[in-house]
Structures are given as structure tokens and as C-alpha cells.
């Protein structure tokens, strides 16, 4: 039976990937030209940046072609487009910074876009290394607890006095010499591997039902241990690092994986209850959580003080309207931290709702491709891991964009692939590499190659 089934010419769809990748790069170049045209910056002074980003993407594509020939053709181009849009916007904000410095007569600030392209290069190098080293994602399962320990250590590294450094009230960075790094970004990958590996071995126990209440099937109380532990972990992150975003991301990720592994809605109900309890605890105990909350409810109450950032962001989005002001023609530099947390509002101002929706769809596509690889993969660990990794991207995008657009209280997180920042870019490229590895396993025909695959 399977003999017949497997004797097909297998379509790898690598050419589709190449075409989309070139398209993504061209859109980035287009954006860059528009920025330079509108702001009157030197005609394509950054062409070295553009050419090197193109070459890097091309190189990454050839690595996928040789290392993971059956991989999903969409993940890399979508990530690349987000990255290119981010580069163009950071360049645009650099130009705005230069112009302001010129007007004030202060010295020219160093542009951030060259740092960002270096981070992009490092991210793509880590992408290729990950793809080459991890030949089979199931090997990660054997190191479940090593990843768990690594994740927790990385998460709490910034708390260590002397090593951690505090920026804008959150203790998220570690500083070695002049190099700063945000270990929480890597921790989220390690923890996803840990959660997936752990839940795969425990999912049958966790799915056991004690009794039914209404339509809900209640699991046994003694199985709630892991959930409580992760909850405490998330609260510790909140207390120790004052980081609402990471704390929410980790707990949300665990809820999703617990549900996918066991299929029990009761766990989701219990976890949501814990989330509410945690939220109330944080609200009563910490001033900064209360501030975030009141700013979310009424940012205009203190529009020139605490609410300044979010109010500026909302004005920016309103200024952009449906079609945006066009690249280089808005005032996104008025929002504090426009290059990192608030890059969505900068893009929303210049590309409008139309552009922002396209960006949201790009994130949705990454999540969809991850979930699809999860459905198609044959091993339960790969299934959970793919769901977990795509959840991380989707949830992180939701938490930060929701915060910027005032859908939910603002929590500091980077926008995946768009924001300025090395740790985030590198971690997200590693994450995409693991997803591509899983999708390769899911889509590859199960055969010994020389027999029947024609490439």
C-alpha cells in the first residue's frame, strides 16, 4: 500500500520560497527609497545595508535548500519581510533623529540601523547554525530538563546583582562589559522546549478526570502541581524583574500547551482563574502595575505625564488613518521608544490601517504555518513544540501590539522581527529555524531518499 503512496515526485516548493524572499527584500528596498525620497536624506546612502541584507537572506535560503529541502516555504520570507520593514522604519527614525539634532545644533546621533543590520546578520547566522546543528528536532526532547534549567537560569540572570542592569524600571538586561543582552528572549525558546518535552510525557496523567461539574470535566487536584509551579515562576518574574510582558507570555504559553496536550478545557478555566488571581495580587502589591492599569483605562487623565507615550501613539495612529501618511511623512519620532516597543504605532502612522493589517496578517501566517506543521508532524513532541513556538510569536505580537493600540494594558515586550534589538531578533530567528526544522520533518516523504525522490 504505502509503496504506491510514496512513489511520487515530491514538490519541495523551494522556488516559491526564493521568489517570496526576493519579493520581501524588494518591498524593504522600496520602503527605504521612499524614506530617503520623502525626508531628503542622501540618495540611498544606506545601499550597503540593503545589499548586505539581501545577500544574507539569499544565503539563508541556500542553507534551507540544502539542510531542510522539504521545509515550509513561507516562514522564512514572512519573517524576512517583517525584518525588512523594521529596518526601513528604524532608518526612518534615525533620519528624524538626525534632523532634530541638526535643528537643535546638537551632535549627530549614531544611527541605529547599522547596529540592527548587524543583529540581523547575527540572527541569520544563528538561524543557519540552528538549522545545521539540529538535524532532528526530536533530539531536543532528550534534553528536556537541561532546557528547563537553562530557561529558568536565563530568566533570572538579570536579577543577579552586578550582572543585571535596570533600564526604564524593568530589570531585563544583563551587562557584560559594553555588551547588553536580554536573556529572557532566549529563555522563552528554552522554556517552550521544556514545556513541550515535559507535557508529552505527562499528558495522559494530566488528562485524567476526577469528576464532572456541569459540562466541565475536572482533572485530579494532585495533577495541578506543574500549573501552580509555572504560575509561581511567572509571578517571580513579575516581582523580580518588574516585567509584566514576559510573565504573561510564559504563563499564556503554558496554558496553550497544557490545553493542546490534554484537550481538557478545565485546565484552561483553572489557569485563567490563576491568571486573574495573579493579576489582582500584582495590582494590589505593585505601584507600577497600578500605573499601567490606570493609564490603560484613561490615558488622557495625565496626557503629558504618565499617559504621554500611549497618547502620542494614539495620535500617531489617528494621523495615519486608513492609508497612512506615507513613508517619511508622519511624525512617529514623537512617540518615546518608537524604535522598540512602539514601532507598531510608527508603522501604523506611516502605512495606515491598511499597512498595519497586512503586518497583522503576516504574524497570523507565521502562527498558521507553525500550527500546520504541528498537525502534519508525526511525533507528539514535535507537535507540541511547533504549537508552542508559534504561540510564542503570536502571543508576543498580541501582547505588545495590544498594548500599543490600548486594547490591553501596556506591557514591555519587543515586537517580533520589527523592533530594534539584538536579543529579540536573534532569538526569533532561532525560533523560526526550529519551526522550519519541524516543518521539514512533517513534509518530507518517509522514504530512503535515493530510491524514489526526484529533486
Amino acid at each position: 500500500m504505502s509503496e504506491n503512496l510514496r512513489r511520487y515526485r515530491v514538490s519541495t516548493r523551494r522556488s516559491a520560497e526564493l521568489v517570496l524572499l526576493i519579493g520581501a527584500w524588494l518591498i524593504g528596498v522600496f520602503a527605504w527609497i521612499l524614506v530617503d525620497g520623502a525626508t531628503g536624506a542622501g540618495a540611498l546612502a544606506g545601499w550597503t545595508t540593503l545589499v548586505s541584507s539581501g545577500l544574507l537572506l539569499l544565503f539563508a535560503h541556500t542553507v534551507v535548500r540544502t539542510q531542510a529541502p522539504y521545509a515550509d516555504p513561507i516562514l522564512l520570507p514572512v519573517a524576512a519581510l517583517l525584518n525588512m520593514l523594521g529596518l526601513a522604519m528604524i532608518h526612518r527614525l534615525d533620519v528624524a533623529g538626525e534632523q532634530r539634532a541638526l535643528a537643535n545644533g546638537s551632535p549627530k546621533p549614531t544611527p541605529d540601523v547599522y547596529a540592527q543590520i548587524t543583529w540581523m546578520a547575527l540572527g541569520l547566522i544563528f538561524f543557519m547554525i540552528t538549522l545545521t546543528i539540529i538535524r532532528d528536532h526530536r533530539r531536543l526532547q532528550r534534553r528536556t530538563f537541561i532546557f528547563g534549567a537553562a530557561g529558568i537560569v536565563l530568566l533570572f540572570l538579570p536579577i543577579i546583582p552586578g550582572l543585571g542592569s535596570e533600564v526604564n524600571g524593568a530589570r531585563l538586561w544583563i551587562k557584560i562589559g559594553t555588551l547588553t543582552f536580554q536573556p529572557g528572549e532566549l529563555a522563552k525558546i528554552a522554556l517552550t522546549i521544556f514545556f513541550a518535552g515535559y507535557l508529552v510525557s505527562r499528558r495522559h496523567t494530566l488528562a485524567l478526570i476526577k469528576n464532572r461539574v456541569g459540562g466541565l470535566q475536572i482533572p485530579r487536584a494532585k495533577d495541578a502541581g506543574p500549573l501552580i509551579l509555572i504560575w509561581i515562576l511567572a509571578l517571580l518574574v513579575l516581582v523580580g524583574e518588574r516585567d509584566l510582558g514576559t510573565s504573561l507570555l510564559i504563563f499564556g504559553l503554558f496554558i496553550v500547551l497544557l490545553y493542546v496536550a490534554t484537550g481538557r478545557r478545565a485546565w484552561v478555566a483553572i489557569a485563567t482563574g490563576l491568571l486573574v488571581v495573579g493579576g489582582v495580587l500584582a495590582y494590589t502589591a505593585f505601584g507600577h502595575v497600578r500605573v499601567r492599569f490606570s493609564v490603560w483605562l484613561d490615558p488622557f487623565e495625565d496626557a503629558s505625564g504618565r499617559g504621554y507615550q500611549i497618547v502620542q501613539s494614539l495620535y500617531g495612529l489617528a494621523n495615519g488613518g486608513v492609508f497612512g501618511t506615507g513613508w517619511g511623512l508622519g511624525y512617529p519620532q514623537l512617540v518615546p521608544f518608537a524604535k522598540t516597543d512602539f514601532i507598531t504605532s510608527a508603522l501604523g502612522e506611516e502605512l495606515g490601517l491598511t499597512g498595519l493589517i497586512a503586518i497583522f496578517i503576516l504574524y497570523a501566517i507565521i502562527v498558521e504555518r507553525g500550527a500546520r506543521s504541528a498537525v502534519a508532524t508525526r511525533d507528539p513532541f514535535g507537535n507540541l513544540l511547533a504549537i508552542g513556538l508559534s504561540t510564542v510569536i503570536g502571543l508576543q505580537a498580541f501582547i505588545v501590539i495590544g498594548g500599543v493600540t490600548r486594547l490591553i494594558p501596556l506591557t514591555g515586550l519587543t515586537t517580533p522581527f520589527l523592533s530594534y534589538g539584538g536579543s529579540s531578533l536573534i532569538s526569533n530567528y532561532i525560533l523560526i529555524a526550529i519551526l522550519i526544522r519541524i516543518s521539514n520533518a512533517a513534509r518530507a516523504p518517509e522514504i530512503d531518499e535515493e530510491q524514489s525522490v526526484q529533486k
Binding site: N4, S11, R13, G23, A31, T354, A358, V375
Partner: protein, 153 residues
Amino acid sequence: MSELLLSIVRIGFLVALWWFVISVVGVLRRDLQAPRDAKPLTPARTPKPRPTLRARKSANKLVITEGTLVGIVIPLGTTPITIGRAADSTIVLDDDFVSTNHARLTPQGKTWVIEDLGSTNGTWIGRSRVTKPTVLSPRSTLRIGRTSMELSS
């Protein structure tokens, strides 16, 4: 730059952005359909013409009429056959829309009874979903994932 040129360029960029999104969705859609360029290397046998009224005796084979296994004929004996993605199924369908243990076909006298084993995407006879063990009549089309099959004698 003139006002007109500015708005053309501005809208042009949004068009380019959406062109990318739409081509991604295009690749995605083609991915959901059965691979078009997947041709069996063994020439597909044309499915047998539908049995006439004369063929009243019990069906003794299952013909796959659509999907990657098109043209394959599975002889039916007296033992139940299972259909699914699991390697130990009688008919292994390598299809994301098929569950590991998807459906079972059991002989009952002269008829065959199809039973869904709790699949995600369902087992279909024509346009109706199989919810309880159902007798599969020789002329109806059984659909599982992207594969269609019929009983034949």
C-alpha cells in the same frame, strides 16, 4: 515631489505589501490542495464503471477514485479493514486531514459497514457525515480527507 506623485507612491507601497500577503496566501492555498504535480509513476488504472443492477452480490473490492492513491483496488475479504494515518492501518493515507485511526470498514453479511473512529475531519458518504455505523451502499462515494473510494464487485 508633487502631491499626486506622493499619493501614487504611497498607495503603490501598500499595494506591494498586499501583493506579498496575497501571494503568500496563494502558496498557502496550493499547499492545502492535493499536490498537482504529484503523478503516480505507475500508470493509474481507470476506475471500473459503476456496477449495474445485475451486480447484486456482495462487493468484494474497494476502488479508490480520487486522491493520491487513485486507481488502487483493495480486495475485500471477511476481515474488517482500517483506514488512517497510522502505519498499521490496512489503508495508510498520508494526508494531514486524516486522523491516525480514522475509520473502519466491517463486513456484515453481504454488506459493508463504515464506522468513524472519532476522526477530526470526519468520514463522509456523499455529502453527509458518518456519525454512527452506516451501511455503505455500492454506489455511494466514501470520502476520507482528500481520498474518495467506492465499493465495487
